[in-house]
Amino acid sequence: MTTEFAEAAERHLDDVHAFLVYLTGDRSVAEELTAETFARACERWRRFDPRRGTARTWLCQLARSTALDHFRAEDRRRRREGRYAVSLSESQEAVFGEGLSPALEAALSRLSAAEREVLALRVVLDLDGESAGRILGISATACSTRLSRALQKLEREVSAGVAA
């Protein structure tokens, strides 16, 4: 069983990491959350039921749950400290991918985490609507609608960035 987990982790590590990079918009946070996600997966591996979905879907659900915990904690911390500004990485280095055009990189950073997560699942990881919907807790139709809006916004942001 340890072998099964090791194989699943090896196979889906890049997917989970890429998903968390899009979700958080921060590479170092994404790495921390990826490690946290696999630590949780390691503990809960006995509960994974292949009949209810693939290991990739299960790991992405776990990654989303881990990221939400992180966002909630950050939200509480910001409220406590009286800072409401979004703490995105201010560095100019590429976050979302190697070799992305600066306009696309900037456009992605201007999207919300909700918009980026659907892009990550449906575009980057190439998941079908049903699997992506299961991870997001919505129907496949709602997932397609959300994807369409996110792509339209991304395209607008890219066009605006190029024009500027």
Binding site: R46, A114, V123
Partner: protein
Amino acid sequence: MSPLELVDDRFEKLAAELRAARRLAPDALRQQIRALEARPRRSFELNVPWRRVVPAIALAGLAAALGVAGVLGLVHGAHSDKRATVAPSAQKGTQPTFPQRQIAPASDNAFKSALAPGPAKDRLQQYDALLRIRVRDQEALSKRTQDAYRLTRKLGGYVAWANYSTPANRGDSEVQVQIPIQHVQAAIAAFSAYGTLIGERIRLKDVQQRVDNLAVRIRRLRERIARLHDPRDRARVAQLLRARASTVKHAQMASVALAMVVGKKTAAAPPGRFDRTIDDAGSVLVRELEILVYALIVVGPLLVLGGAGLLASRTFRRRADQRLLERTG
């Protein structure tokens, strides 16, 4: 087919760029993940598929309910022609013993009457019996009524009340007699042989305890009178003595009500074992259903409230998560 083709072809270039630039996990992170070791599954693990188990439990419960009803029906059905059911008051334990017996019509009435519970010889008991007899015709009705009077007198009893009527071809005779309790079984056996026994009910009420209690109270009051000479105590003693005498007198005479009707129809056959089994099993099932409905009435609203609360909290949490993701850049 790419999932994006379902959305819009014009986004294909954008999507291709995002996929091509996809970031891989750094080596340090990969090594960290490789170092993790999942806990092996336990040799015995309760991995319950609830969607299958719940219907199976429901079916098993239904089968158990039917099984219990069937077994109780078989057991009770096999013994119901010998059983004596206890009156509800006796079941609750609020009254003295009060056996009540219903006997189905039968051809061998003397044998049936021999099964009737007799009074206990060493205790005072009130004995009440009701016999319903079908006789052949009006002539037999008249003759048997006279026989009942004679037998009652012969046994040392008396007729307390009687009603005799014979309109057209029909007729009925009701006789209420008081018979010394030591002869009551002989009287019942004789009455039962007057025709076809179509119903019998016997009630026995033990009054020995009451008489004993009265005796104790009388003795204590007399002791008190010897000490205090209170005239009110004398009056109470007299009252208790009358009550004791009345109780003893009632216990010495059995009350037998004999109801005879004219009719040529033979008595209906007593229910067979199969019928009794079905009846008993049906009663058990009805009782089980009552318990189930009661449980649903009590627990149902709580389950509905709990389910609604759970659903509402999940929906609320999901929306809160979505809002959090939307405002997170």
